[in-house]
Symmetry: C2
């Protein structure tokens, strides 16, 4: 790929030269032979003025093909549309696959959306309006209406004729959907099946009648799981009357998988990991809210420690081990949290498995706690030549780790139960919380042994 | 989907009844009308004895179709193969798509692999042997050799005839690859293109000659990124002489995306988040190594604090804020780490962007540090009515956060530079490391103000 890459840089420069020279013929010839992804890379590298030229060089349809693959920051989409002639932008949006046009429109102000819809052919505007109404993160919000449907009483030959006609505008032609007159979904046939069977066979004889579909209101994560389980390239979407209203293609599912992974990762880190901005002020403003909330939770821990200040001034050695106990418990809690979040995301299970998960975390917390506790007992005993101190640290460690494991699994489960995404139970939140419980445990155990520690 | 689910539970029970009654006809009729994913769910719910019956009821080819989608723990695959008649297992493996057969074989001992290969037709055994040799995580390790290739001087009609013949065994027929006699890849045509063009057109006239392919030794993550950029359903794999040797299909890429997400998430949490076992001893044994390593790193921090024990016994209030400073710096470091890991994974950029990333993290560290520092200065000042103490905590916080941001971005970059996966720079490692630096900063700043603190 490296040579291709080098070559590509040169090609971009050449295309810019054609643009500058207003050489529309050569520019179109070279630009349109690129893959649309490569076209989008050229587009993103253009200056404001070069883009304005481009809009004169390409048709709305050609621009639409390129915009299908353009993944950009929200601000940019608005900027691009604004710099186009409004009619050109509207034409481009109506030439795009509906799901992608809807994705772009969803990033604009309601008034702007209305403006573009009013400039479109009413058929396209109506189709897009319907899709705009589906809630975020549902099957409806990521489906497209550009599929190929046929009837069961057709021959393969006539189905292939329909497919051939619809192919240029359908988002996928690798599945065709068999419907009744009222659009009720009754079967699915893959293009592979159409090709291997004979021309005069009837659709009804070869179609799979075991239907796998999703409802338009299903959560997009469930749709992603179903498509991965079945290895589908597209899945039909039906309304509550089981009428076919759209399909979801694998490229949109990959976006869902990536978004969910980023959101899980963000949750664990307490930060939006897909920060687009490189401006340190913007970056800081996005990270600070979490940090400040956690800071005040941390002040709670400090307040707690201040209650034991007298103990510390009597036995200052106690202060030496605060961060060791809170840190280790925090590490254990983070492990437990991450495992719980993944398990919750993977299973559509019931209450029983929640209890099992918590019991299993308590048990493994006890085991890791015992091993870690004995280790630190020996380490501190040897280092400080004070096995009573070692015992205090060891027992506190055992208890703190067990509680941290419990918190790490219980909190995401609780969040799922009350209807939140368990992945937003962030790692920093758990560690800050377990700081509090660890300190409480540590000083209470130390208090029992104070006579031996002073 | 809920009703389908309920129904499915009943169907499984019915199938088990047929198995028990040795009713091969009815069992096969009902079982084979299921989607292979559903078949695999039935299979996983069977008892050991029921599975042994199943092997008598289904042909190796039918079993192979089901095993294509079976995703199971490593131990299980071995168990399943072992309980089959070796010849049956070998036949099944040779009926599977090569990439999936190789995935399964890779989980076995070398001697066992050899046994199965010796029982296969030599053509299949040779093909599989070649694939077994590719290194983990390369394009070669996830590619399959079952693609459809044609020559440029054919008509569409003859290409469709080849496709029709090859369709039953090819892993995808949605792209056909155009090669020269020496297998050099010269073009790609999608089935969509074949269908919309006329029968008598020549392949050479309609094939895309702008080739996008990967080398067999490319990293699978790069392959995944390329396929997502181009929205491909399959991508050709070539050797160093640009000869076509395989293809990678989108289902394998989704597996790569999921695995990489799990591994990033695991890194951040310092634990393998896809723990399969529910046995607390197994779970604990997997989590303990990290915890114990971090424990000893934490003892380093404790040793450091013990150097300041005298200061603490003079001003025990200092102990109250240790966990607040280490905790907040740890949170900031985790944020910075997570962002850096994602940025490194997303970009195939060069050194310049590394420096930019680090400078940007230092800048945003300073800004978040100033805001957090001022906040804690005011909070501690008001709470303890001691603004000198507030100043100490505030300045320490500012410095500790800046250093934590630097560490959070620098460490993954360093790991990438020396050839490690930056995602294994775990969150707990960063927080434990920043504990150390934070304590050092805190007590050195406090030392400057000791006269005012006692």
């Amino acid at each position: 790929m490296k040579e291709v890459q080098m070559e590509f840089e040169e090609q971009i420069e050449q295309l810019k030269d054609y643009l500058a020279a207003q050489d529309i013929i050569l520019f179109r010839e070279r630009f349109l032979e690129l893959h649309v992804y490569e076209q989008s890379q050229v587009y993103l590298s253009l200056s404001d003025n070069e883009r304005l030229d481009l809009y004169n060089f390409l048709s709305p349809k050609e621009m639409a093909d390129m915009f299908e693959v353009l993944e950009e920051e929200e601000e940019s989409v608005e900027k691009y549309l604004e710099e186009m002639n409004p009619q050109y932008a509207a034409d481009m949006l109506s030439e795009m696959y509906r799901d992608n046009a809807v994705d772009m429109l969803n990033q604009l102000e309601p008034a702007t959306i209305k403006k573009y819809l009013s400039l479109m052919p009413s058929e396209d505007a109506d189709g897009i309006k319907k899709l705009l109404n589906y809630e975020d993160d549902t099957a409806g919000s990521i489906m497209t209406t550009e599929y190929v449907s046929i009837f069961a009483n057709q021959t393969i030959k006539s189905a292939m004729a329909i497919l051939k006609k619809k192919a240029p505008e359908a988002e996928t032609i690798y599945y065709v959907y068999v419907v009744e007159l009222n659009r009720k979904l009754v079967g699915v046939i893959s293009l592979r099946d159409l090709i291997v069977h004979e021309d005069d066979e009837m659709i009804s004889d070869i179609m799979g009648d075991r239907l796998v579909y999703v409802n338009v209101n299903d959560d997009q994560r469930d749709v992603a799981r179903t498509m991965q389980d079945y290895d589908f390239l597209a899945i039909p979407v039906v309304d509550n009357e089981e009428r076919l209203i759209g399909i979801i293609t694998i490229d949109d599912i990959i976006d869902v998988i990536n978004d969910e992974a980023a959101s899980d990762y963000s949750g664990l880190a307490g930060v939006d990991v897909d920060e687009k901005s490189e401006n340190p002020f913007v970056v800081a403003s996005k990270r600070l809210p979490w940090l400040i909330i956690l800071l005040f939770l941390g002040i709670g821990t400090s307040t707690l420690i201040s209650n034991y200040e007298e103990m510390i001034s009597e036995a200052s050695i106690l202060a030496v081990f605060i961060s060791l106990i809170t840190g280790t418990a925090g590490n254990a809690g983070t492990q437990s949290l991450a495992v719980a979040v993944r398990k919750l995301a993977d299973s559509d299970d019931n209450k029983r498995s929640f209890r099992k998960l918590i019991l299993s975390e308590i048990a493994s917390g006890l085991i890791t706690g015992v091993v870690t506790g004995v280790t630190i007992f020996l380490a501190v005993g040897l280092w400080q030549q004070n096995y009573i101190l070692g015992l205090v640290i060891g027992i506190a460690m055992l208890a703190a780790i067990t509680i941290a494991n419990l918190a790490g699994s219980f909190i995401p489960i609780l969040m799922e139960r009350i209807g939140f995404d368990p992945a937003v139970a962030s790692g920093p939140f758990i560690t800050t919380l377990t700081d509090l419980t660890s300190v409480l445990i540590y000083f209470n155990i130390a208090a029992l042994f104070m006579n031996y520690l002073v």
